[in-house]
Amino acid sequence: MTLYRYIIRRVLMLVPMLVGITLLSFLLSHAVPADPVAANLGDQAAADPTIVAAFRHHWGLDQPLYRQYLIYLWNLVHGNMGISISTRQPVLLDLRQHLPATIEIAVAAMLLSLVTGIPLGMLAAVNRERPIDQAARVVSLVGVSTPVFWLGLVAIVVFYAHLGWAPAPGRLSPTITAPPFVTGFVLVDAILSHHWDAAADWLGHLVLPAVVLSSYSLGIVTRMMRGSMLEVLGEDYVRTARAKGVTRWAVIVRHAARNALIPVITIVGLSFGGLLSGAVVTETVFSWPGLGLYAFSSATSLDFPAIMGSGIVVAGVYVLVNLVVDVAYAFFDPRIRVA
């Protein structure tokens, strides 16, 4: 099967997968022994049956469950994800406003962990048991075990409060006017509207949350790369290449690293999903207005349309990233047939 058909088939599989996700989110959110009424109406209002009835009718909660689900699916197919109970805006608009922010820090964190973790893992494997290897293992351990919440707060105290190197938590300074909303990505919107100061301001704000969020995946990437490299370096073809006189670095980079990267790519795909959800904590600490914050607040207020919307988006992004990963496999390893 050609790559092209493979991609098409995978994208088509998205549809039943997303339907499954909606069913799962719907069932799970309704399994909670609480009513959106509890989270959205005050004590006095909740004691008045006419107000409760009006609320339930307005949000379609007085229909039987299966009808609510079918109505949701019908609307979804028509591009309508419903209105969020907690923001009173269309969920689609909420997602358009919040998702780009999370993607910004998730991508930045992923890039940071790859750009730092892959070379570090390679160096550690090549210099096994030497100081650089010890250092890499410490970095890895600290990255994986340090709670992001704590790391974030410490980073803010050190780099913002004491050293003044980082700006105040947030995505843009209050004195900067945000660029007009086109894509929702500050960098893109700023470039499109020539708001260079907004772009620079955003970049400054991005550093700390991205570094903090990358700590976990940095730890994993480093470890995986190291282990994978060690395995590959012990292979026959590496020994053969050295015997044939290929230079040390050429062996490491062209022969070993390329093959060692394959398991790492798997990790990238899996941990990207983790980045999206782990972003909740980072977003809270850094007041970064992303999907994590939105999903969390919709969960606690039993905002069903928002919960479903967030679930669909996160699942969709996750599936897409893993599709990219699978395609990347074929690029890195010709042995993997996509048939």
Binding site: A39, Q44, A47, D48, I51, A54, R88, G170, S287, L293
Partner: protein, 514 residues
């Protein structure tokens, strides 16, 4: 150690940056909102008939109404409107707008519709007179009218944008989206932008009837983490911080350039014991209720609640008429508690204490309060299991009357003591605690007394009646009042005129920056 605040930039010197607690907002539509955060914004962008000044929530002051009279039977209030007031659209304020706005709240049947319970009708004999008639005498209506929910909306503009104030408003009104993007009021500020859960920007209304405010622009940001708020206000990146807790208050005290204050919240935090025998079990026994009241270490509770929190004797907060002096508060007497338990003769008593484990209220973590109650009751031999649940689950259980024991709070919905009648047998809070008028002759008596009290219009008589009611509820009711909390807040020393009222937090009209 910390760098000084950045020097004010040219335009930024008249921008106020507020970080904070106000992002529980669901909507800015006055007819549908009830949250503190929404009141904070709507108090700045709209005006009501009456208002309160600064932190004094006892005396209603004229706002859009210049004067008012009450009929001898206490049912009819006649307000004279201020002439020559304009909405930001340029439309003039008339009595028709006031009627439209109040009717809209009534018929939308939203979260705050209960504020208009007992309303008979609103009439407008002339463009500058509004007459509000109640079905029974209801003196609380005057402080209730100060609420931003009942503010005057530009009826022509909002009706043109989908607004409806007819009896079918709850299905016909489509103005919420418009009101979340534009303010249609007479207030000192105008809504420039509202990004839910993120940021709200207000700009000044230069034609405001009191004169333009001293601040040009207000940026409210959702800074979810109190520690981050603390750091930001120290560095000068926030002018006002309203979401800090007791920890931040302690570490900000004495910081140069930052002033820390507390505002007494019109809230009661209490332990409830279900009187429905099927739910409450041993705690439905009056002697056990009294024993629990005697077992709690109130001084320790106050320490947990933070500086400025007050003891509560009875269920009416200390800043309302009808509150009881602290000397009448329940005393910690563990021997007495043990004696009562022996008299009750129920053997070893155990129970489940339910509370919302994921909320921090007034800077206090609920699990700490729960753990203290558990420890205190253990000293008299009552074994408590803690049942911390997410807020939406815990409160559902509580509202269904299924909490055996619980820690809850009642924040006044409006600045009047009558809001606390919910503790009367058979009414909202009492019902959830299983305390009905049929429970005992005393409960029956209290229910009767409440009916007399709520229609009393003579102020000194009213106060005396509320005190009597409060005393009876304190003795016979199934609650142990823990404390009245404070809301900590902080602001930079170059910001002046900052007040904090529990009804709407900071009033931005009086604020200025140097």
């Amino acid at each position: 150690m910390l760098k000084d605040a950045r020097p004010a930039l040219g335009a930024a010197s008249s921008t106020l940056t507020v970080g904070g607690a106000g992002f529980d907002i669901k909507t800015l539509d006055p007819g549908r909102e009830l949250e503190n955060g929404a009141n904070n914004i709507d108090h700045a962008t709209y005006d009501s008939l009456v208002t309160f000044e600064g932190e004094d929530l006892k005396t209603p002051k004229p706002s859009l109404a210049t004067s008012w009279t009450v009929s001898p039977d206490g049912k009819t209030y006649t307000f004279k409107l201020r002439p020559n007031v304009k909405f930001v659209s340029g439309n003039p304020l008339t009595s028709a707008d006031v009627k439209w706005s109040i009717d809209r709240v009534r018929y939308l049947k939203g979260n705050a519709a209960f504020l208009l319970e007992g309303l008979d009708e609103v009439t407008t004999p002339d463009p500058l007179t509004v007459v509000i008639r109640m079905t029974e005498p209801h003196p609380a209506i005057l402080p209730i009218l100060s609420s931003p929910v009942l503010s005057a909306i530009d009826s022509k503009l909002v009706a043109a944008n989908g607004g409806d104030a007819s009896p079918d408003a709850k299905t016909k009104d489509q103005a919420e989206a418009y009101l979340n993007a534009h303010s249609a009021g007479t207030g000192a500020f105008v809504l420039q932008s509202y990004t839910p859960k993120q940021e709200i920007v207000l700009v000044k209304n230069p034609n405001h009837w009191r004169g333009a405010p001293k601040i040009d622009r207000i940026v409210l940001r959702n800074v979810a983490e109190p520690a981050a708020q603390e750091l930001m206000i120290k560095k000068g990146d926030l002018d006002v911080a309203t979401g800090i807790g007791a920890d931040q208050m302690r570490s900000l005290a004495g910081t140069p350039g930052v002033i820390v204050r507390t505002s007494l919240a019109s809230t009661l935090v209490y332990v409830m014991m279900n009187q429905n025998p099927q739910v409450g079990g041993p705690f439905a026994n009056p002697k056990v209720v009294q024993a629990v009241r005697a077992a709690i270490d109130y001084q320790g509770m106050l320490a947990l609640a933070g500086k400025g929190a007050l003891r509560q004797a009875g269920i009416i907060p200390n800043n309302f008429p009808g509150a009881l002096p602290a000397a009448e508060a329940a005393r910690t007497d563990r021997e007495h508690a043990k004696r009562l338990l022996r008299e009750a003769g129920l053997g070893e008593i155990s129970g489940t204490l339910t509370f919302a484990s994921d909320i921090v209220f007034y800077g206090i973590q609920s699990n700490l309060i729960a753990q203290k109650v558990q420890a205190d009751l253990a000293t008299v031999g009552i074994k408590i299991n803690l049942n911390g649940l997410p807020y939406s689950v815990a409160i559902q259980q509580y509202r269904d009357g299924k909490n055996q024991l619980g820690i809850w709070q009642w924040a006044a919905d409006y600045p009047d003591v009558s809001d606390y009648l919910v503790f009367v047998p058979g009414r909202t809070v009492a019902k959830r605690t299983g305390w009905m008028p049929e429970a005992s002759p005393e409960a029956q008596q209290i229910a009767q007394l409440a009916k007399t009290t709520e229609t009393e219009i003579d102020t000194p008589k009213r106060v005396a009646l509320y005190q009597r009611l409060n005393r009876m509820i304190a003795s016979y009711g199934p609650w142990a009042p823990l404390f009245q909390p404070v809301t900590p807040y902080a602001f930079r020393s170059n910001v002046h005129g900052v007040t904090f009222a529990s009804a709407w937090m900071v009033d931005y009209y009086t604020v200025s920056k140097t």
